[in-house]
Subunit: 131 residues, 3 copies
């Protein structure tokens, strides 16, 4: 298991962590298997989506805010319920194939940490299992 540290600088943002995950896969020496990318947080998520045009990330974040507005009436008193809800909608992990010692991503795919309650210092756990 490798623990990546990721700094997020806005309340809501998506950080492309593909290069860091690739390095972990490379260092693992695993020829073929599955790579698990996991956030140990409850107001952040992990997703795989387009990394080429930053407008896609903006559209995802803007639309999630429309679906789960920060200012709606929630019971949780820390004021970050919207971030918890977004985390459950997006999910806290991604599972990606490893073949020939490489992550198998589609042409346009990148792996993102999704911050919904930043700015913060976040961790991402990466594990490669062989099989």
């Amino acid at each position: 298991m490798t623990r990546l540290r990721v700094h997020t600088s806005e309340r809501s943002c998506m950080i492309d962590i593909t290069p860091q995950v690739r390095r972990v896969v490379d260092a693992s020496g695993v020829q073929s298997g599955i790579c698990l990318v996991y956030v140990p947080h409850t107001t952040a998520g992990v997703t795989v989506n387009e990394g080429a045009d930053p407008a896609v990330v903006e559209d995802i974040l803007t639309h999630l805010e429309k679906l789960v507005p920060r200012g709606a009436a929630y019971r949780h008193e820390e004021g970050n319920s919207a971030a918890h809800i977004k985390a459950t909608l997006v999910g806290q992990s991604a599972e990606i194939l490893v073949e020939s010692r490489q992550l198998v991503l589609g042409t346009w795919q990148a792996i993102f940490l999704c911050e919904f309650d930043g700015p913060r210092e976040r961790e991402v756990l990466v594990k490669v299992v062989s099989g």
Copy 2:
């Protein structure tokens, strides 16, 4: 594979199953790997979110109901389409790292069975693979 039985007592609720999953990981003897927590149902899901303040769970369930209201117009005649849709939004599984024979969860993280069409007797399948 271990089959957990979970009783749900409301139409919509989230049941913290972390202790049961921990016991499966412990009994598996797996030193390092991935734990898969899976619901073999189509109107329930699995998520990882905050286990400390029950208001978070309430906010998640209330907001999911707002996004996917039970009373909207659906075609499926069993009347539980909203539950099917919520299941797809939340997802039917969680994948969690295992290190030193323990689940690696964040400080605030708990594993929840999400019931969207209860009350029912549900099953949760837990599998630990080594790697």
Copy 3:
């Protein structure tokens, strides 16, 4: 790793790929483990939901369109932002247990490729790890 080819014939549709995934599991010879079903695309997803009544699939697709309408104002200029957002909500993979050389699915569960920007030729990657 096996690469399935899936033809989608509508803009939005869900294709039951359970038989193809079963064949990959069968051919893998893996006795016990985890099967990863993954789309290497950014405007498609994978979900597990009811395969018996096609009205469920229709309700899921119709409701996703309500939550993320194609015609809303987005920044991404290719005009398929809604598809990207749906992909992140649904997720790009499913993880399913394998026991006794068989996929362990619930009675009503089927595995679906979710097309959100078709019609297209899509790929689905399937990997079975033993453990």
